[in-house]
Amino acid sequence: MGRYVIRRLLQMIPVFIGATFLIFVMVYALGDPVSALFGDRGPDPATAKALREEFNLDHPLWQQYLLYMGKIFSGDFGTAFNGQPVTELMERAFPISFRLALVALTFEIVLGIVLGVVTGLRRGRSLDTTVLILTLVVIAVPTFVLGTTGQFFLGVEAGWIDPAVSPDARLDELIVPGLILALVSLAYVTRLTRTSVAENTRADYIRTAIAKGLPRRRVTVRHLLRNSLIPVVTYLGADIGTLMAGAIVTERIFNIQGVGYQLYQGILRQNSPTVVGFVVVLVLIFLLANLLVDLLYAVLDPRIRYA
């Protein structure tokens, strides 16, 4: 197990370098970070030159990348458009987005798996059909439509929630935005669990467990659920990246000042240190989440052993 983790961590290094380099090239080669600083007015040539030197923009691209990465690993992510260090933005934004993602993941795991198991065990009944149609609707209607209408009806019309989340983003304020963020993935988790449970109910070991006289609850939870969760866990792992990025839409609708919001501001103002800095951290989270998922396989399926 330990050797497997080390091997996987080592394999992550080239992927991390490649992915961050791609983003770096997009931002620094396609955009012009210096003229973006000045907005519509053209920069004074001498100032522009000084800034280019300060940000190492006069070096070839790969050198810029190396210098940038060197800075990042010594904790210097550069300054955002308003003169704040990017690390300060991160300190405020990541806990908020983390809470939002946690709310969303909780909805996905609890609601998605419960609905999936219930419908998978009662295939073809009216409850199953209703939930299936609901999941299709949720997948088909884009999140930003669900988000804005949800905000309008729950926040403006009914007044149950505040339409905009306060800067502290307390956990109770994040319940509705978290649900909106989770909805599409929730639908996929439900469908995946349903298919997987329906396939496994016909498996030999389930028949054996029932024949042994095990109580129904034990068969469902210990035998059926554990085996059915493997594809769901894979999906959830890949979904953490989607949640982080999908939060751009949700955080924009509900004015949550998390990662998506800061990233979007950085993109609008073409502030390269903010964009690249946040994306580098997000890519790292995404890769680690996928590693965690692979390790979870071994917990769920005893046949899988990592040497």
Partner: protein, 316 residues
């Protein structure tokens, strides 16, 4: 891992004769068993599936109106009368008017073109790019497999929406093609992983080994024997992705980095309608483009589901 040498290994006369006998034997087999191929079987299933028929007809309709929107909408989507801003539905203007006083019905009809074009072209790009990279990695194996697989991992490591926003906000080009390009460039790894897996499975089949023993060239083996047997999972995945790409285009347009006015698109209209809750007093400006978009995405997802059910041998 196929190597060039094995193709050129000289045959003994006896083996050639045996191989000829083998092909003669298989040539007569279909007459007695009349086995249906995966594709005939799938088509047989699909024709009887109401979900497939409904979604296919809907998609056909969408494709037709995206090619010739004039068939069902006689007005010009860009000719707006500001005086009729946010006017509700009325006779002759069933869907009412939007903030700019444009006819919502006409714009909804004309909006199909952008969504369908982005969906189809991005899917085509993803399928070709993913199948070529994944297929070659699986077929050649060895060093190239490692290299191409790591390249796939690199692109897989960039979350799709995130990468698309960064890329589109940095370039100055606007219109449909940058959106198609960025979706294709960032989502091919999924297809590449699937096609690599199915090519590796197909490669180990007896008929591929037989083709190699008969001296078939690499390209013939790949195109005639492996491709037809490895393409099913790619088609299934691509159909399902098509719907999500259409939704993604709308999301990018909503965020202001995808399509921009004057391009007529559902995403642009939905974005304008939800901006500052414009739809509060005139729900029709949000409802119709959003419903059209959702229906389109739904049609493609249902088509993907039906195709998967028909092509997946595990569900038989």
């Amino acid at each position: 891992m196929p190597d060039q040498q094995s193709d050129k290994t000289p045959f003994g006369a006896q083996e050639v004769a045996a191989a000829k006998g083998l092909t003669a034997g298989t040539a007569t087999a279909p007459e007695t068993t009349a086995a249906r191929s995966l594709w005939t079987d799938a088509w047989h299933d699909l024709r009887r599936n109401p979900v497939f028929i409904v979604s296919a007809l809907l998609i056909l309709f969408l494709v037709v109106i995206s090619l010739w929107p004039g068939l069902i909408a006689s007005r010009d989507p860009q000719r707006c009368q500001l005086g009729r801003s946010l006017e509700g539905p009325s006779a002759g203007h069933w869907f009412g008017f939007d903030t700019q006083g444009c006819d919502v019905y006409t714009r909804t009809v004309y909006g199909a073109r952008a969504s369908i074009t982005v969906g189809l072209c991005a899917t085509l790009g993803v399928a070709v790019l993913g199948a070529v990279v994944g297929g070659l990695a699986g077929f050649i194996g060895g060093f190239w497999d490692t290299l191409l697989s790591r390249l796939t991992d690199v692109f897989f490591g960039i979350p799709l929406v995130l990468g698309a926003i960064v890329f589109l906000s940095m370039i100055t080009l606007t219109g449909i093609w940058p959106v198609v390009l960025v979706i294709a460039a960032l989502s091919w790894p999924q297809i590449a992983r699937i096609s690599r897996g199915s090519v590796i499975t197909a490669k180990q089949n007896d008929y591929v080994q037989a083709a190699r023993a008969l001296g078939a060239s690499n390209s013939r083996m790949l195109l005639r024997h492996i491709l037809p047997n490895a393409v099913a999972p790619v088609i299934v995945m691509a159909t399902i992705m098509l719907g999500t790409f259409i939704a993604l285009e709308a999301t990018l347009s909503y965020l202001g980095v995808g399509l921009r006015p004057p391009t007529v698109s559902w995403g642009v209209d939905i974005s304008a309608a939800s901006d500052g809750m414009q739809f509060r007093n005139a729900p029709h400006i949000l409802l119709y483009p959003a419903a059209a978009l959702s229906l389109t995405v739904l049609a493609f997802i249902m088509l993907g589901d039906a195709v998967r059910d028909a092509l997946d041998p595990k569900l038989r």
